[in-house]
């Protein structure tokens, strides 16, 4: 087999696959953040905790109720989405006329409370979640070994991201959403129920985070801190892509996962910081983000 700059292809493709997996989570999570920020003007710091909730809900469904991975993939986002709807109705709707900072503080506080509750109840050592039987094993592609579950994660997140993009950019509901994002007062004055749209959007964004959490459960252990570790990187991804851009969030999420993977191959020392270095450069050169629209 060929070698690239002295790197064996197995190592290169292995890291690229890991990068693509991470990128899948970055993409779904930053997509949810972008959708929520676009319409609610709230930087949802609870997003990481809601991702973690998705994984825990899947774990609880399996271990307490006996509901397996496939139904959980739908049920966990719906359950988490309902908690999101409650959070929006009870807390967030009081903040829309205030500065971003208040929403950020509230959602950050909620994240700490939710993570604290789960840590208190489940401990912080992590719980195992089995890969579903259908997706065990893997494929030998010749140049690398592809575990089936990891391939599934990439495909599933791509499908969910593109479906979200399609709904927002190509459907009537999406047109309502874009209109309400741009000018909520006028959209409401056309007879469109903007408050309901806002509530559902937050619920949907939370559902996306929980979906990512269920996907992550069999890969990473189900752990109360799993979201807190990830969300910092995801915020950097959102800043790089540009707040409020749907396709920007998707492309940047997958792209930065790959960049991170490549960095692990060629200069592992920088792999934990490369995204933040890119963020700093983007902020200097294009403060609105790669895909951001300046108002």
């Amino acid at each position: 087999m060929f070698e690239l700059l002295g790197i064996p292809p197995q190592a290169l493709f292995g890291q690229l696959l890991l990068g693509l997996i991470n990128g899948s989570f970055y993409a779904i999570l930053s997509l949810g953040l972008a959708v929520i920020f676009g319409l609610l003007n709230i930087i949802n710091f609870t997003h990481g905790a809601q991702y973690m909730m998705g994984a825990f809900i899947a774990w609880m469904l399996l271990n307490w109720v006996g509901i397996g991975y496939w139904p959980a993939l739908v049920l966990a986002p719906v359950i988490a989405g309902v908690t999101g709807v409650i959070i929006e109705r009870v807390f967030l709707k009081r903040l829309y006329h205030l500065d971003h900072l208040y929403g950020l503080l509230l959602t950050f506080g909620l994240a700490l409370i939710i993570q604290g509750l789960f840590r208190n109840y489940f401990g912080s050592s992590g719980l195992p979640y089995q890969i579903p039987a259908e997706l065990r094993g893997g494929q030998n592609l010749g140049f690398m070994f592809l575990p089936n579950y990891r391939g599934w994660v990439v495909v599933a997140s791509l499908v969910v991201c593109l479906a979200t993009w399609f709904i927002i950019e190509k459907t009537k509901l999406g047109a309502y959403l874009r209109a309400a994002t741009e000018n909520p007062t006028l959209t409401q004055a056309f007879g469109i129920n903007v408050p309901l749209l806002i509530t559902l959007t937050y619920g949907f964004g939370v559902g996306l985070a929980a979906f990512a959490g269920v996907l992550a459960a069999p890969i990473y252990s189900v752990n109360p801190n799993m979201g807190a570790d990830l969300i910092i990187v995801v915020f950097a991804v959102v800043v790089i892509g540009g707040m409020g851009s749907i396709m920007g969030a998707i492309v940047t999420g997958f792209g930065l996962g790959l960049v991170e993977g490549l960095t692990k191959v060629f200069y592992p020392e920088a792999s934990a910081t490369v995204i933040f270095i890119i963020m700093a450069i983007v902020l200097l050169v294009k403060p609105a983000g790669l895909f951001g629209r300046t108002a």
């Binding site: 009537k172 309502y176 874009r178 741009e182 000018n183 007062t185 959209t187 409401q188 056309f190 469109i192």
Partner: protein
Amino acid sequence: MAEAVLDKAPAATAAKAMLSVRDLHAWYGESHVLHGISLDVAEGEVITLLGRNGAGKTTTLKSIMGIIGKRRGQVTYQGQETVSLSSRAIARLGIGYVPEERGIFSSLSVEENLMLPPRVREGGLSVDQIYELFPNIKERLTSQGTKLSGGEQQMLAIARILRTGANFLLLDEPTEGLAPVIIEQIGRTIARLKREGFTIILVEQNFRFAQSVADRHYLVEQGRVVDMIPNAELDQNIDKLHAHLGV
């Protein structure tokens, strides 16, 4: 003074008024902008609000539409009190709003802009009728909404309201910043809507344009209606008009 103005409107008009506004007050934050607007609009009538910049004409439309945070007084539409309703509920009664800045969405295509407002009543124009009325729109359906010229954006802002079945229109300075030939086209459109039975409140700075389309004119100054002039008497009152409009 407001009472004197109302005396001019025959009681019969007030009785069958489609929209009746009494002692309407409105605030932007702490700033008290409308100080008791009163006016009546009969079904099928086109009336204008004339006045200087900042007189409260736009605020009056926004208050009728329910998009001013704090308002007080009476706004009765077809017998129903609307001052406590949300703008969403007011739109659902059949009142269509074309804002001053036109409100074309840049994140929506021309077609999406046109189809955005939901139907609120039966009897709205069909898409084909709209294309016939505004042929320019049909040619630009896939363009970004704000890529249209100012005149085309104004047509689109009116067109999307006509689709919904709303038969009471609030038009805020539809001729502002447009070329004379476009203003003529908008004038013809308003005249046609009037013939078809639409009821319209028009905010205008251009009183020649207002004269060409309206039945009556309300002069607004410092958040109050200071006079009402039937269109036929506009020329006799030209001095009064100059004094109020400062033209």
